[in-house]
Amino acid sequence: MEIENRRNGKPLPGLTRNLVTFISEEEFRRLADLVHREFGIVLKGDRRLTLHTKLSHRLGLLGLSSYSEYLDMLGENSARGDPKARGELNALAAEIMNNETFFQREKNQFEAFFVFLNDIKRRKVAGGESSINIISAGCSTGEEIYSLSILLFESALFAWGNWETGLTGIDVDKSALRKARKALYSNNSFRLLNEEDAFVNKYFHREESGFRLKRAYKSPVKFRHGNLMDPAAFDGLEGADAIFCRNVFIYMSDEAISNIARNFHSCLRDEGYLFVGSTETLIQKTDLFVPECREGIVVYRKAP
């Protein structure tokens, strides 16, 4: 059995060469502390090469040669409230979090929400309200919020009368938000669909560089830059009918999730719906929301 035994201390003959350590343990620890403090993100220690691949260009851009210098710069300057340092922190968070998203991701949740829309409308009509507001928290490049825009349109529930539809995507990654505002997508964003699929043909124009969302579905959507850990990210969005925050919590500590749940709780109306990723849970992370099983999915409602 040809196994390398590192515990002997001395390398055995014919060993595979060691990988260069790109980030030292001390640098990794400092970086992990920083991103957790600022964004609630948990960095896993066994992914240092991935981390270095994601971040090395930030050092190049700033003309720095080590993560120690990078961390010193971030630490000192963000403490002084330096906007460039804050900008760099946001860029750092954006690189670390996976921006991967695509249209119709976890479609069963959209299908369930389609059904809930009837309840929402009934309640609003009874209460004399004429607006519906939905938030995509951690919206990345916009596929989720645009999927919701399409859903609202297809429901035809809010098409007539003086309904105001407010769809807001929030993300800490400015580069992702720029892409989201362009609403121009590659095949990657349709990985669950065939590019010949009726969905693509109906809602997108084909262009040389990709698929552009049609204006009718793009125009109701607004994007804003914000950190979900910061209550200010939700200013002006109080009384939301639904918040979608899917595949965001997987990167975060329980403490950060609890913090964000508090912000969601303040922002969501009492009868509102909170959707998280199907592999995520808020159970034992917050008492502010309780799970409900409806239409074959789990959705969270405010605790009584």
């Binding site: 040809e2 090395s56 260009h57």
Partner: protein, 375 residues
């Protein structure tokens, strides 16, 4: 008391919790008999489930009651009692649960084994080994599985030896391999390795070997997996993610150039990315041209990550060709790479990128040009 029990049936989780907390303030001799009745009330699942919550919350205080219920004439009550004893985790229950491994009802035996696994006491190991043999003799795999799972949870040398014996005697082989994976250790790897080339068992064996090795921090010599590269590339196509991951890990250790495109593909999957990058790094120069070809292919996912990786490998000259790429992140890598290459071509690239539409690309190119001009 009737009011408190009524609260136990509440659908609302908050009310139920409050009722349980009130109930537990009463003396045990008052509420435990009522909980015993509730546990046997098969017509009222809500009350029964709430009674189980109450038992869990009572913890150690509930032990005598549960040990009594483990001898109930009702097999379902015995199952609940075993489950709850496992949840509460008191070592005092171990000898009673060991006796439950001989219960006439198979589901009670299963619950008993599971509970012993959760409690984790090594004195249960021998009895669990007996339970596996008994299940094998009577042709009942589920009690065997529960016993093997329990051995995996308890761990230790004796548990390991029992599982290795199961593998060698072909006793519920797949379950035994799975349990060995969880129990870990180099002895487990040795035992499992015998099955790496078996058509039916290679996926399980591979998964066990790489996962145990990774937990131990061990690495195989490249030659071990290199000879298995064609098989690993087949297994890599498995729709089962854990199997695919095991194959990718082995390929990353193999340092075999045949694996290069599997490694490149895996960069796009977050859970596999680290292994893929490490595997490509080990391949070194052999991975460069495949990386370049993949970046050139516009449909390749994570092209920017691959471009950054080329930079990490020091392949700056190779990155210059991507100065006109449609993705700004890739153009940025070209700009940063050009700063590390002393050539006319690099200067041309930087000049072009200094007028790029993206601010970061422009800025990187201009800064580098200024540095070069100063020199």
């Amino acid at each position: 008391m009737p009011d408190l029990l009524k609260g136990l049936e509440a659908r609302d989780w908050g009310r139920r919790r409050a009722s349980i907390e009130s109930l537990l303030l009463e003396p045990e001799e008052i509420y435990l008999p009522r909980l015993e009745e509730a546990l046997a009330d098969h017509a009222n699942a809500d009350l029964r489930n709430a009674a189980m919550e109450a038992y869990r919350s009572a913890g150690r205080k509930a032990l005598p009651s549960l040990l009594k219920l483990l001898k109930s004439p009702d097999h379902e009550v015995r199952i609940f009692a075993a489950n709850l004893l496992g949840d509460i985790g008191e070592k005092e229950a171990v000898s009673h649960l060991i006796r439950a491994l001989k219960d006439p009802d198979a589901n009670v035996r299963i619950a008993g084994a599971e509970a012993l696994g959760r409690i984790g006491e090594r004195r249960a190991v021998h009895a669990l080994g007996w339970a596996i043999d008994d299940a094998w003799r009577s042709g009942r795999p589920w009690p065997a599985m529960a016993a093997m799972d329990a051995l995996a949870e308890i761990g230790g040398r004796e548990a390991l030896e029992i599982l290795i014996k199961c593998v060698k005697k072909n006793v519920y082989l797949e379950m035994a391999l799975d349990a060995l994976e969880r129990i870990g250790g180099r002895e487990a790897i040795k035992a499992v390795s015998e099955f790496i080339e078996s058509e039916e068992l290679r996926e399980l064996a591979l998964k066990a070997i790489v996962n145990i090795a990774e937990r131990l921090g061990d690495r195989f010599m490249p030659e071990y997996f290199m000879r298995l590269a064609p098989m690993l590339l087949e297994i890599y196509k498995s729709p089962k993610f854990e199997v695919k991951k095991a194959a990718l890990m082995a390929l990353s250790w193999a340092e075999d150039v045949r694996a290069v495109f599997a490694l490149i593909d895996s960069v796009a999957e977050e859970e596999l990315q680290e292994y893929a990058l490490k595997g490509l790094l080990k391949l070194g120069k052999k991975s460069v041209q495949p990386l370049i070809d993949s970046i050139k292919d516009k449909e390749t996912p994570e092209r920017a990550t691959l471009a950054r990786f080329l930079s990490i490998m020091g392949e700056y000259e190779a990155l210059l060709q991507f100065a006109g790429d449609r993705e700004p992140e890739i153009r940025l890598e070209a700009a940063l790479a050009a700063g590390k290459v002393s050539s006319k071509r690099a200067i041309k690239v930087l000049s072009a990128l200094s007028k790029d539409a993206e601010r970061e690309v422009r800025s990187a190119a201009r800064k580098t040009l200024m540095k070069i001009e100063k020199k």
